[in-house]
Symmetry: C3
Subunit: 267 residues, 3 copies
């Protein structure tokens, strides 16, 4: 079944209100480029970010977190060990975890590593079209961290990957698509400025984790996180003369939506 | 003795003016989430940040810095070696150094590591209530990086820790408390938005180091750094619609206070 | 020959327009403090940043990138291996690469490492006066990451280094100087606020790489990158009450110049 989800669907602010009320602890193993922005995005919606990426602590910590994010942007030998421990720790403890396969397909090493992590059963894989197509075996991957394809071109690959890996797959693009292998949810909106700021896609992975921490229906959780970010992006783009002020406004708008969600959900 | 310190106490702008004039070199071994923001906070008050976190350089560098910050946020095997070298290098050279025990109590590995670093005699330990209570042996620690207790609940633990470790202890919260085990200085003010931006507490650790580089009375240095940040936070919160713009305004206000301090101190 | 280059020289916006059109992939091995800001600067001018800093991937990736940046700010054992692989990978594939020798001279280990990297023939070395003087064997280096000398004092050292290393050398300061050992291009402008935000110099290294990816005349590429940043800095300083808002405005102005370059180059 195909459907569409936006902020105007009551379930979206209701879930955001649950994040606001629950302050889910999101354990992020992410890349050094976006770590600060990712933490600020989570704080803006009242989630509780914690970046624990060393091998001695990540497995233990993942088991106590509300959800875990594993983002492959800047790998290192130690970070890979920590990511394996976090993924298996989360899976063993029944915690949702999100895999963001940055630049998979463009580089052989991380493509193998992502394949290995898939075996630990992520709840959600979130990536751009090239990354999802590569993981599904349907394409050669992108150039660096950018996609060479549109999200609509990756929809077939997303369905294939979701079925093969037994997880929800979210493809980011002009329209985001989220699927569990059967149903497909399209999330329109956002702004082209979201591609001119580093880490917006990575931060979406973190938001998906935060929503999955409070909502067991992972397809809904991932779609709602996408819809919240799309709405914040539209609102932020309105008053922003460029990408610097857009990044600042995006955080302000996420916090404003979090505040508004209380009213919507309580109304 | 209990006292209170705010920006209106002439010693606060006077010390800020000394930082402005002296450009103390602050050697930061901090976490990847907040490294950029920390550097910008130090630059805003005209201090000179340098992040040297590899094991071959950190001991040598610590001995030449005005002060050293060791923040446990994102540990790694190499960073731990570098932190040991920096702490002992600073101590051997008689340089003040600040320990920020992020998430200590919540995780066994870093709790042990923090205990080990305490033996190298930090000048100041700065943390939230849960972290200080855990280090003092008075509580189980927080959840992730957040405190589960208010700063006033940790005052007893701060006194205990200050006496046991022979250092100044600063507990951050709605009111900051700073103690050397005998006197207690309360620093009120700030803004709730300071908890909605990642790295504000970590940046306070860096400010404390900058102030300790120019002022031998460590209790005064740590309290004054807190009072400067509290004042900047209040002023920044005034015109900020959300956490994104607040983080930007906080840097602007710190720079403005630095500029104003020249007049106050010279007046 | 001595000359001067600014935004008003038609070649500057023309090269910026080429970056805008070509989206050069810039492989950055940079420090954790400035990684996010560097990526945002590259995105603002429509280049495509990718931070791949692990030893298994960096050599392979460098050979496919438009240009490579190696910035020594925060070294680690693994990052050093990755930097060697990237430098030699870029050189072997005939890709331009830029060396940013942060704090060289102030620390023995990185001074040796920078010497080793020089043997892999960077296209450009970009640094402050102390760093360039130290690399040229003309001075003891700075204090931490700051220069103890003005860029004009380092001009002789820049010429010496350019001839000895067979590369272009760019010295940042109140006036930037860029030389290939024969000609010297002075780039005036910018703003003192550029030294109050972490990573502006590091981001210039990344811009130089982006320009070198689209222009074979490396002296022109490096000078033009400097001229673009100087212009953006002047414009950003105009409306900024402090360093926080300046950093935001700098990204906005870079994006605006990129947009304007289309018209200039097409006019």
């Amino acid at each position: 079944m195909h459907s569409e989800l936006t902020w105007t669907d009551r379930r979206v602010p209701e879930l955001l209100a649950e994040v606001r009320a629950g302050h889910p602890l999101v354990h992020c193993l992410t890349n050094v480029v976006v770590a600060g922005f990712t933490a600020n995005v989570l704080l803006a919606v009242d989630a509780s970010p914690a970046m624990v990426e060393n091998s001695q602590e990540s497995g233990e910590f993942a088991a106590t977190a509300g959800a875990v994010l594993v983002n492959l942007g800047t790998l290192s030998a130690e970070r890979e060990v920590a990511m394996r421990a976090a993924a298996t720790g989360a899976a063993a403890a029944g915690r949702p975890w999100v895999l963001d396969p940055v630049a998979v397909g463009a580089l052989a090493h991380r493509t193998r590593f992502a394949g290995e992590l898939l075996a630990a059963r992520p709840s959600v894989v979130r990536g751009n079209a090239s990354e999802i197509m590569s993981l599904a075996g349907a394409g050669p991957g992108g150039r660096g961290v950018d996609s060479q394809a549109g999200s609509d071109e990756a929809l077939g690959a997303a369905l294939t990957l979701a079925r093969a890996a037994g997880c929800v797959v979210a493809v980011s693009g002009a329209v985001d698509y989220v699927t569990d292998g059967a149903d497909v949810v399209a999330v329109p909106g956002g702004s082209p400025l979201m591609t001119r700021v580093t880490g917006v896609g990575c931060a979406l992975g973190a938001l998906v984790a935060a929503f999955a921490a409070v909502e067991a229906d992972v397809l809904l959780a991932a779609s709602a996180a996408s819809a919240v970010l799309a709405r914040a992006g539209e609102r932020a783009a309105g008053g922003s003369p460029g990408p610097g002020s857009f990044a600042v406004a995006l955080l302000d708008e996420l916090a404003a939506l979090s505040e508004e969600s209380r009213t919507v959900a309580g109304g």
